[in-house]
Subunit: 433 residues, 2 copies
Amino acid sequence: IEEKNDEELLLHLEDVHHADIAEILTEINLEEATYLVKLLDSEKTAEALMELEEGVRERILENLSPKEIASELIEMDTDDAADIISELSFELQQDVISEITDEQHADDIVELLRYDEDSAGGLMAKELVKVNENWSVTGCMAEMRKQAENVTRVHSIYVVDDKNKLKGRLSLKDLLTASSDANISDIYIPNVDYVNVHTEGEEVARIMQKYDLEAIPVVDEMSRLVGRVTIDDIVDFIKDEAEKDYQMAAGISEDVEADASIWRLTRARLPWLILGLFGGLGAVYVMKSFDEALSEYVELFFFTPLIAAMAGNVGVQSSAIIVQGLANDNLKGSLFNRLLKEIGLTLINGVALGTLVIIFGWIVGQPQIVSLTIALSLITVIIIAALIGTFVPIILDKQGIDPAIATGPFITTSNDIFGIFIFFYLAQTILGF
Amino acid sequence: IEEKNDEELLLHLEDVHHADIAEILTEINLEEATYLVKLLDSEKTAEALMELEEGVRERILENLSPKEIASELIEMDTDDAADIISELSFELQQDVISEITDEQHADDIVELLRYDEDSAGGLMAKELVKVNENWSVTGCMAEMRKQAENVTRVHSIYVVDDKNKLKGRLSLKDLLTASSDANISDIYIPNVDYVNVHTEGEEVARIMQKYDLEAIPVVDEMSRLVGRVTIDDIVDFIKDEAEKDYQMAAGISEDVEADASIWRLTRARLPWLILGLFGGLGAVYVMKSFDEALSEYVELFFFTPLIAAMAGNVGVQSSAIIVQGLANDNLKGSLFNRLLKEIGLTLINGVALGTLVIIFGWIVGQPQIVSLTIALSLITVIIIAALIGTFVPIILDKQGIDPAIATGPFITTSNDIFGIFIFFYLAQTILGF
């Protein structure tokens, strides 16, 4: 297809959805992709560029002139355009913005660039439909039609006063069912959920999910309506956050995809591995300091990987439940109750596991006192591991640190060392070597 | 507040959002909650009940008569009502359905109960606005107003033919901007994304996210329009799926919350712990069979937790990246390339980690040949761990099994045993004990 047969290509791609064009752009090589972006109508490519992965998009944009980039941005909603501009180098940003012919659009983009990416201000778009409370229903229909031309999806119509302060909203349904001689101030709903430009993305997502909203208006410090966040951006945001948490739990410190370069993957994976290595070296030290046990109770050393693994597994389970509870804001009850519950829970699990260890020891003909020691240590170790897994995230959260960091390798590594130390210490106390 | 002062309570709660009422219901005790549900208007409590966690809702519903439950269900959208009915016992289901006075509503609910919970049929609602392609714009406005009364959010208007087959859609925006003397068949968009009742929930979510849809029509086997899935249900679905994956990776086999009962938590956590225990006991066996090394190279035994931990960590990292790649459907390139890349990546990490082990050995005055053996084994072990972590999920996925099951304890445990075996085997070959 890539014989530069422009007309046939255009014909072919005319009816293709922009998300599918994005897929095509990812699969062909860079030269072909650039050629295609230049060839196609920027209305279509603008949307397709938005759907691309950051890396692919960057490389395509590098091959376009500021003017060509600007013509793509004009077709985009302000929030998408701002996201893409923020990926460019500072100088290129200036050049591109100065090439945007629509003054208002450029202004809006510059405003959005000021907000933090993960705040309501960074997530919002400037495009929305708003009406003045003093207008009549018929009077505002014409105005609304004009505004709706620039807005991909209307959702709600926001009602403002003369100072642009948010007063309420009009649902399209109300408008459909309202008699045409009514006044806006008679029919609008004064109760409207909104967020501030500085509200964190997670809070915006929580509010929109809780109240099943599809768009939420964003106001500035003076309660003036400045934009709105739509549900499709929130869906992307929720998915990104979930992926980040999942990767963090797996010991991957940067947001990477399976197709990232080896160098990026290494940078994301090596730090936690080095932490794990130091944990392992710590365990070597702990065992060395108990090497008197070697002569009489060498079985203990065979059981250390088991103890370490169980401490790690229990810790990860506990921390995962707490981290999710914190994220969903549904942890109730006092810390003390949580402590009792976690101990009770782990005790049940511990007794079950300890019994299995004793049965195993009996089958292989291990001295009973050794089996008992191992079972008892196992129970102690996993109770402590569960407590670490439960309370480290809670403490981090209280300190304002993302508790998700405490899952995965961090908990596993610290529980490995603690577990092995407690194991040998208890064994020494009971068996007396 | 709970002095049964009905009127004051009603006044207080009149303007409270149903999501907030749900929070109140969760925090007060069961008796008070039941009292409140009976007291308040079922229009409000129906929505609030939907927002409750399953356990809390079940307990409240147990205290209501079938008739009272039915009056709540009448106020709900069909999809929500069907979800709640499916939580009831079979007999209670019959009683409740027979109490629903609105025949059409009961019919719709019964239809929805037939579909699998995680399919498009299970996610969809029957409420939607549809128009016949043969109507005129003005002619259908009245009809639409009537339909819109029953639909919480209009989103799109679907266009069907006389046989109820889906032909296309009308956006509200188009309708706002269309001249009133046009015909539906002139202005509707024939290109419409849709799914089948049997399409899996994940696929529905993927399509809606890819094309930024806020509602998608659902058709049956004969292309007849039977319902639609809205984005708020998809947001909940995406979040649930992400939480399930996260818990699976942490070794929690059932969907539990931090506030679940100890018994449910044990049922969710113990199975993977027992798996881990068997893994650990396997490692005991492996080490026992290499116990000739004890006399000369006892350091090796001190290093087994380190080897096991690193094998586990690397395996979890690799599998997490692959599982996410599979879930997002963005794994490209051949298996062979992926193999080469994974080996290259782990080799870089391995050499870095091996160097640290050698430096450590040099500091503590360990025989150089032992340090070298450990470093070399470590590199080999993590390469194999990475390959297991990469290919087990891919193979599971090809077999139609959810690859997320292969993260967490499963990979950790198998890598522990493999890692320890390879470590001792290589050490035996090099050091010759």
